[in-house]
């Protein structure tokens, strides 16, 4: 479904701030694959996501999504097929617009059934209501409330719903539960797993929680210094423990692990 071939990206080339964020990264995601990504801050996880969504163009290499070469496709054109959730729950929704209007934005444009002058129909409203009810947060009865009044967890759940209201070719989750309290994070995580499993969405998820990285999905990637240094699935992944994963990281990276967040996540 997603095929990344030898992409590289250097920010601020030729200046003192030069930073190579991606080095010859290649990644093959089969349809329905759910891979978690771990790695210290600055390893290139978010940069990889931004390369896929088109926030910038890569310096070299190619990106294919569903067989189509999207390497130089504009960001807003690619996003039709890509769902992207960020750590900050405020980024995914328009605060001054109602829940219904937010859902409509996500749905009407992507589904391709509506003209620019189409309005939210009764049928659309029914659909939104149905989908919102799945969240079990009572949002289906607050369709006319501005999204700005919702809590972070509710907004993130709504964003998840919006990103998947039309099944995307790939779903990118960038630590999307990291800013939520533990109970809400668990709930949003469960929703994510349910939706992804039910619709067999191809999914990449960044996490700093090592347990989560091994338990969620069917594949675990590890990034360091702009490269994917570990890619495990199947039996190898089943036998992996958090300890061995950390050992692996140390060995592969060839340096002492000094990231507090990863250590604390044990």
């Amino acid at each position: 479904m997603l095929s990344i071939k030898n992409i590289s990206k250097t920010f601020h080339p030729g200046t003192v701030n030069e930073k190579t964020a991606l080095r010859q990264v290649s990644l093959e995601m089969k349809s329905g694959d759910f891979a978690t990504i771990v790695g210290s801050n600055g390893a290139g996880k978010s940069t990889l996501f931004n390369a896929i969504t088109g926030a910038f163009y890569v310096d070299e290499g190619q990106i294919f999504l569903g067989g189509e070469d999207i390497t130089f496709q504009k960001e807003h054109l690619r996003s039709k097929n890509i769902g992207h959730l960020f750590q900050d729950p405020l980024l995914g929704t328009a605060p001054h617009m109602t829940i219904e209007e937010n859902m409509a934005l996500a749905y009407m444009r992507v589904s391709g059934r509506h003209s620019p002058f189409g309005r939210i129909s009764k049928k659309d409203k029914e659909l939104f209501r149905e989908k919102l009810a799945l969240l079990d947060m009572g949002l289906e009865d607050r369709m006319k409330s501005p999204v700005g009044l919702l809590s972070g967890g509710q907004r993130q759940a709504l964003t998840l719903l919006m990103a998947t209201v039309v099944t995307p070719k790939i779903l990118l989750l960038d630590e999307h539960t990291a800013a939520l309290d533990p109970a809400t994070a668990e709930k949003v995580m469960k929703l994510t797993k349910d939706i992804v499993a039910e619709r067999k969405i191809t999914c990449l998820m960044v996490t700093h929680n090592m347990h989560q990285a091994l338990e969620t999905g069917n594949r675990t990637l590890m990034m360091n210094d702009g490269q994917i240094i570990l890619d495990i699935a199947g039996r190898e992944r089943e036998n992996m423990t958090v300890e061995t994963l950390l050992d692996q990281f140390r060995r592969q990276a060839g340096e002492q692990l000094d990231n507090d967040r990863i250590l604390l996540s044990r």
Binding site: H76, L77, L91, G92, P95, M97, R109, S115, G118
Partner: protein, 315 residues
């Protein structure tokens, strides 16, 4: 008090309020919804007035409105083009276009700073001939202005709930989200500013016919006044659907004109009009902030009194 609040004051305040409300509605789109401070408003207003006046002089008073709106669309398009394709900051783009429009406006008026329409048919003069009735004769101008504003409000209220309208609103609300939901933000800004420009120019064209003249300086300060109307409107009506908010802006514009009219009746010289406007604008804009501070101060006083009372009873 009866000398201050006369019917004719109310009437002319409503007439001007409705005509200028179109600029406030234009700013509602660019400033409130798109979150862009579009300073080309002054020039665009004069452009609409100039184009409208010239077409009216050529004998097409109705076509004049549509030509003016077309000119406004062009002005809005250039402002949007500069900021979406050329990387010019939005405030600068507005200022640049505003400056350029001064020359364009003079050129439209045949390089004279003033044009009058006394011997031409205008929408107002044509409507006047419809009936000899006294009541009709005194209210037809307000009727026309109100009808146009109502029509524009209804169309806009409908438009802002369409797929395209929702996208425009989202662009100003959360640009991050818009990019992630396959909406081209540049295009939305362009569409929004074109609509906003057309409404500003329409307002200019109507004013030109209403006052039977066009002056190169008609636009000066319009952006401030429209902003004041917009903020008064937004303060009065703080929630509700799009149509309700737009009508709130119209109400704000009428209220602003009324306040100015009343202020000028207090034996102030005509030269004071700009100062009065500035004061009203400043008060209107700072009102929401002052209200919040007053609420906080009140709360703090109560707390202090309560604590003081507790200490006293504790002793």
């Amino acid at each position: 008090m009866s000398t201050i609040f006369t019917l004719s004051i109310l009437q002319s305040a409503l007439e001007l309020g409705c005509i200028y409300a179109l600029i406030a509605i234009a700013l509602y789109i660019s400033f409130t919804l798109l979150n862009i401070a579009d300073l080309s408003t002054d020039g665009c207003f004069t452009l609409g007035c100039a184009v409208g006046a010239m077409v009216t002089m050529a004998g097409h008073p109705i076509l004049a409105f549509f030509m003016a709106m077309g000119a406004g669309v062009c002005s809005g398009f250039i402002t949007a083009f500069l900021q979406t394709k050329m990387g010019v900051q939005s405030i600068l783009a507005g200022i640049i276009v505003n400056t350029g429009l001064y020359t364009i406006n003079l050129a439209v008026m045949g390089f004279s700073s003033n044009v009058n329409l006394f011997n031409c048919d205008t929408l107002f003069s044509m409507a006047k001939q419809v009936s000899e009735n006294e009541v009709y004769r005194s209210w037809y101008e307000l009727g026309i202005a109100a009808a146009i504003v109502l029509l524009v409000s209804l169309i806009l209220g409908w438009f802002l709930n369409t797929s395209l309208g929702l996208s425009i609103r989202a662009t100003g609300d959360n640009a991050h989200m818009v990019k992630a939901s396959s909406i081209n933000p540049g295009r939305m800004i362009t569409v929004g500013l074109c609509i906003s420009g057309s409404l500003t120019a329409l307002s200019g064209a109507i004013l030109g016919q209403y006052q039977k003249s066009c002056d190169i300086n008609f636009g000066t300060g319009q952006v401030t006044i429209a902003l004041a109307s917009l903020i008064i409107g937004n303060t009065l009506i703080r929630r509700g659907g799009m149509l309700k908010r737009i009508l709130g802006v119209v109400l704000g514009s009428c209220l602003y004109r009324f306040i100015v009219a009343v202020a000028l009746r207090l034996n102030l010289p005509a030269e004071a009009v700009k100062l009065v406007s500035a004061v009203i604008v400043a008060v209107a804009i700072s009102f929401p902030c002052l209200r919040e501070k007053a609420g906080f101060a009140k709360k703090r006083m109560e707390m202090r009194r309560k604590v003081a009372g507790e200490i006293r009873t504790g002793e």
